[in-house]
Amino acid sequence: MPKKYNVEVVPTPPRYIPIGKFEIERGEDCINCGRCAIVCIYEVHKRQDEDLRCMAEPVAYRCKGCFSCVQECPQATLTIREGTDYSRLGDSYWTPEIISTNWYQAETGKIPVSGAGYRGPFSGEGFDSMWTDMSEIVRPTRDGIHGREYISTVVEIGRKLPAIKFDSQGEILSHIPPTINVPLPIIFDTLPFEAAKHFDPTFLTFDENVYGAMAKAASDLGTFMIVDAGDWFKSEGHRGQSSHIIPHISHLTSHSFDADWIKACKMVELEYEEDVMTVVNEAKNLNPGTIISVSVPFGDNVEQIVEELTYAGIEVIHLYADLNGKAFNQTGKKSVTKNASIKDMTLEVHRHLVDLKIRDDVTLIVSGGIAMAEHVAKAIICGADLIAIDLPLLFALECRYCKDCQEDLACPVELKDVDPEWGAQRIINLIGAWRNQLLEILGAMGLREVRRLRGEVGRAIFFEDIEKDTFDTVFAMDESYDANG
């Protein structure tokens, strides 16, 4: 039995006290009876070390919101509220819950588990408008402690031939395109923002530590990291550690290739431009074994662009949405209003390629707004081969998404000072937890290979469809009902 791929998670505590969800306030009429310390099982309440007669300030970040202390206090002098620091985290897409859940996973490497039922909205936009399916009767996917490790999360990057041709002597006639096996369908994308480079004389340190952590994590996990072919990449390239790095070249017109690293890298990513194919051919001439990916923004005509590129021989297309998983509005063109979410756009591109019978000619990497493990599974169901993630990598390093760095303010968690070893383990923990959640989804379906999940819309329940299928019958009497309304 070959060794199974396994992500080694190691609990890695944060450097700063995390922002907890709750704030607890002790009123002035506290009589220091200590009842709160007895009823709290999370050690929020303690007596002061220096004076045991007095209660200490509550350690609010440990609070799990059980309300016991508040309800048991004989003076009714404790109050609990959602913390302002917590509710200010992130924005409406990258919610406080998403950020803190990613912190938890980066710290523990465990998948988020809780009691009581789901507590969120019934459905929502984008990925929140679909559910994944399961089967009551399947092959065992959990058999004692075994079972899960037999589910494969390996994906292949590159063009896949539908069949291989042989001549009469049995020699292979087909040209077999290069492929890369990635042990899990998650790679690291370029970071959406960095410390304000021009004003921060120490930006190189930021790069070194943050990118260093990412590169180490990518290498340990056996996955890849896309990085701008800038200074950091070049210095890293000189160190000969480029086997897990995919350089991203954004300004093709002014590019200058370094033949050495085209040869050293298994894969190179080029930003889409009209004449991208000339550059592709140039790179292919330098190293025919290099896989070329072209990154294309989700937006107008994305299906046509993907179609053209695929017919032109591109093996990998990296489709990226904006930070919140939405299409880009291209200036000068009419704005994209329909199908603006990454979920719908991925589905459309995938279906378009399937209709043209060229789906396996190209690998689709999808990124933008991938915030939780469930998005990986859902994007794959919608037709992605693999996913690239960005912000969650920074969350693993304790980023609070305050965007202070964008305004040239000091980073509250001093990202540039992270220890790459510590950071790498945090990222590995996060990815380990995400992968385990992907296994849970696959297990529930009885699937044993993530490759079989791609485009399996039959394994998903779409809100619009089921709402119509079910409630059109139920509310047939109600003429005002409009399933698409």
């Binding site: 059980c66 009691g115 009581a116 039922g117 789901y118 507590r119 559910w131 089967s135």
Partner: protein, 510 residues
């Protein structure tokens, strides 16, 4: 027999919407407020110079503004004011809003249903929260929301001649019916304390309905409630013995749980105490896995073999098959019919759990609101609807949810979280972490589980059931129905309401 008796919260400070604030710099402790308030918010205990801290949870808010006993207006120093409590703002979530949690507590305390939209639906923006009743005639009903004044103004409905009884077996074999269209969901010993199990069983007996052991054994103490207990045969077969199957009237064959469909269970080693191990026939301290799926069931024929085995052991028992809600749930229901099941129990994806991965709770399988009409229609088309009993669970929070589930095509419902909320659960979701439930409900920690007294717990549940039944009777009356059975599959009694949004901005009221 069920008797409603007041069962106040076990906490000194019950969480309530309103916080009565007394400005101590203005208060002269004259005691006017204590004399005025008929609800006992203000109190000056004999022998004390000062008026006690206001008992805010008894306050009915500004509803008594124009009454001569409105303390805020009558305080000679203007020292009193009403505000929204910080706890009220903090508690609750989209599905179980603050008002649903507090409303369930109040109903468990008094046994009287609460009227008004905020006590009837949640804020999830879909499913039950977007469905309202299409009452034929609303005459004679004033502005809703005012009916809760003083909590005693609304007495239990006069239910003469209206039946809430449902039959659980429509096939050959033992006829079993329950007096209310709901029974208690499966929660294992280990996931909840023995006191909670006993409280559930007592309430089930009082109301002539059932409770379920869940997977994990049949504690001795439940023996006297055998006639009101359903025992579960789940994928791990933990605690399943011939004796337990022979003792009960209903055996539940559990394929999956709505909150974690397709995942199976995992009881950590340190939760496997000597007692838990004994009941599960395992070794204490070793982790216990409930696999997924049944390793011996790969077809309807295999399924039938298992049901036959149960019927062989206990020919008088009826069998319920509990499944979650995948796309092909309608086929599963028909398969269960051919295997010989009496009840198809659909557990929706937003249902409760003692512990489940968050990714599964949110994403796997469909909400119960879709599954019920799907199965109901399919069984009708196959000509089997009159032989199968459909029971729905997974997100039934209120009597209104139960009624909507029935109108969508279920015969009855199973409730779980609502019962735990009645016992004081705040849905903090920490059932599984550390020592278990900090509120002493979902835990076997000897110290914590002392918090719930069996008698008190049973009374809270009896009261909750009473409130639900009153509400069900009231709704049936408004539809002019004599029996809950008339409501099954009556889609015309429901309207989808895209306009419903739960008003949570309490500021407007105060």
């Amino acid at each position: 027999m069920q008797t409603v008796k007041k069962a106040p919260s076990r906490f000194p400070n019950e969480i309530s919407e309103i916080e009565v604030q007394r400005d101590l710099s203005k208060c002269i402790n004259c005691g006017t407020c204590a004399k005025l308030c008929p609800f006992g918010v203000h109190e000056r205990k004999t022998g004390y110079n000062r008026v006690s801290k206001p008992l805010s949870y008894r306050c009915i808010g500004t509803s008594c503004e124009d009454k001569p006993f409105y303390c805020v207006n009558h305080c000679p120093r203007g020292a009193l004011s009403l505000g929204v409590s910080s706890e009220y703002r903090t508690i609750g979530d989209y599905r179980w809003t603050r008002d649903l949690i507090i409303g369930t507590w109040k109903q468990a305390e008094t046994g009287i249903p609460l009227k008004g939209q905020r006590y009837e639906i949640g804020n999830s923006g879909g499913g039950f929260d977007r469905i309202s009743f299409n009452f034929p005639d609303d005459e004679g009903r004033g502005e809703r929301g005012d009916e809760n004044i003083g909590q005693n103004a609304f007495l239990p409905s006069d239910d003469t001649g209206i039946s809430t009884e449902i039959d659980l077996n429509k096939r050959e074999g033992t006829k079993i019916s329950i007096r209310v269209p709901f029974y208690g969901g499966g929660m294992s010993f280990g996931s909840i304390s023995l006191s909670v199990m006993l409280a559930k069983a007592k309430a089930a007996r009082a109301w002539g309905t059932f409770t379920c052991t869940g997977e994990g054994g049949y504690p001795e103490a439940l023996k006297e409630y055998d006639d009101n207990v359903i025992t579960q045969v789940a994928t791990g077969l933990f605690g399943v013995m011939e004796d337990t199957i022979q003792r009960v009237k209903i055996v539940e064959f559990k394929y999956a749980q709505g909150a974690k469909p397709g995942l199976g269970g995992h009881l950590l080693g340190d939760k496997v105490t000597a007692e838990v191990a004994r009941m599960r026939e395992a070794i204490s301290g070793s982790s216990l896995f409930s696999p997924f799926p049944f390793h011996s069931v790969y077809s309807v024929e295999d399924h039938k073999k298992h049901l036959d085995w149960i019927k062989e052991l206990n020919p008088n028992a009826i069998v319920s098959v509990k499944v979650s809600t995948p796309t092909d749930v309608d086929m599963v229901a028909v398969g269960s019919y051919y295997a010989g099941a009496n009840i198809i129990h659909l557990d929706g994806s937003y249902g409760g759990t003692g512990a489940a991965p968050d990714i599964a709770k949110k994403n796997i399988a469909m909400p119960i609101e879709y599954a019920i009409p799907k199965v109901h229609e399919f069984l009708k088309r196959e000509g089997l609807r009159d032989t199968m009993t459909i029971i729905a669970s997974g997100g039934i929070r209120t009597a209104h949810d139960a009624l909507k589930a029935i109108a969508l095509g279920a015969d009855g419902v199973v409730i779980g979280t609502a019962e735990l909320v009645a016992l004081g659960c705040v849905r903090c979701g920490n059932c599984e972490s550390g020592r278990g439930c900090p509120r002493g409900i979902a835990t076997t920690d000897p110290e914590l589980s002392e918090a719930v007294n069996v008698e008190w717990g049973a009374q809270r549940l009896i009261n909750l059931y009473a409130a639900w039944r009153s509400e069900i009777v009231d709704v049936l009356k408004r539809f002019g129905m004599r029996s809950i059975k008339e409501l099954v599959g009556r889609y015309d009694c429901l309207i989808e309401n895209h306009e419903i949004t739960q008003e949570n901005d309490e500021e407007t009221k105060l």
